[in-house]
Amino acid sequence: MDDVARDPAALDLLQRQRDRLADRMRPPRWFLAGTAIGYALVFAGPFATRYLSQGYYWAIAAATVPVSLLLLWGLDRTTGMKVGPRPLRVLRDGLFYYRPGRSALIAMLVVSLATNLAENSLIRRGQIAAAVTVAVFAVVVEVALVQARLRGIRQALREGGGAA
C-alpha cells in the first residue's frame, strides 16, 4: 500500500495540513465591517435610551441579535469550520470549555461593559461628544479583539490546542 503512513514523516505532513486548515480561519473584510456595525448598534444603546422612545431602543437592541447570528453563520460558511463555544457544547461541556481566544473573549465583554458605563456617565453629564468618542474608540477596540480571538483560534488549529 503506497498510501500507508510508514514513517514518522506522516506527523510532519499532518502538521502542514493543519497549517493550511488554520490559514482558512482568516476573517473576511465583510465580517470585520459587520462586526463594527454590530458593536456600533450595541454602543448606540445608551444614546437610544436617552434620546429615543422605548420602542426604538428595543428595536436597536433586537437588531444586534440577527446581525450577530448572520455574521457567525457567514464566517462558518466562508471558513468551512465551526469553532468556539456553541449552544449544545456549552450545555454539555460548560461555558468555558473552548479555550483558544478566551482571553480576547473576556476582554471583549469587559470593554463592552466599561464602554456602556462610561457612555451612560458621560451622557448624564451632558458630554455627548466625549460619549460618542468613547463609543467609536470602543468599536475599534472590539474589532481588534475579534481579530485577536480569531488569531488565537488559528494558533490553536495549528497546534491542536483546541482539540476536544
Binding site: 493550511r20 488554520a22 460558511r77 469550520m81 468556539g84 488549529l157
Partner: protein, 127 residues
C-alpha cells in the same frame, strides 16, 4: 491513553482526515477538509465513509439553496483512536531517531520552519 497502531487510521489519507478534524474545530466542511488535506472529492467521500462506518466520524448533510453542504466531525471514539495512533507514531519517530543518531533531521522539515518544533504534544491537543 495507550499508544497503539490503528490499522483503520494508518493509511495517510485517513490519518490526515482524522488529524485535521481533531485540530479543534467543532465541524469542518467538505471543501475545507479536502483543500487542507490536498485530496480529491472522490477520495474524501470514500475515506470518510470508511471512517463513518467505523464510528470514528460523524457526518451531517445539509444544503444552502441548491448547493449541498457536508460537514464532518470526529466522534469521541475516533478521537481516542487517533490519539493512540499519534502516540504510536511518535514512539516510532523516537525509535528511528535513536537508531540513526546522525540522520539529518532538517531534511524532512519544511523550508518555512526555522526552528524544529515538538510534534507530539501539540498534535495530541490538550484533552
Amino acid at each position: 491513553m495507550t499508544a497503539r497502531l490503528d490499522p483503520l487510521i494508518h493509511p495517510i489519507t485517513r490519518l490526515s482526515i482524522c488529524g485535521l478534524l481533531a485540530a479543534g474545530a467543532d465541524w469542518v466542511e467538505f471543501a475545507a477538509l479536502r483543500d487542507a488535506a490536498g485530496i480529491s472529492d472522490s477520495v474524501l467521500s470514500k475515506q470518510s465513509r470508511v471512517l463513518e462506518d467505523a464510528g470514528y466520524m460523524e457526518v451531517r448533510k445539509g444544503a444552502v439553496g441548491r448547493r449541498p453542504r457536508t460537514w464532518f466531525r470526529l466522534t469521541a471514539e475516533g478521537r481516542q483512536a487517533l490519539q493512540g495512533h499519534l502516540a504510536w507514531l511518535a514512539q516510532l519517530e523516537e525509535a528511528v531517531s535513536a537508531s540513526v543518531p546522525d540522520a539529518p533531521q532538517a531534511a524532512t522539515r519544511p523550508a518555512d520552519r526555522a526552528q524544529p518544533r515538538p510534534v507530539l504534544p501539540p498534535l495530541l491537543g490538550n484533552s
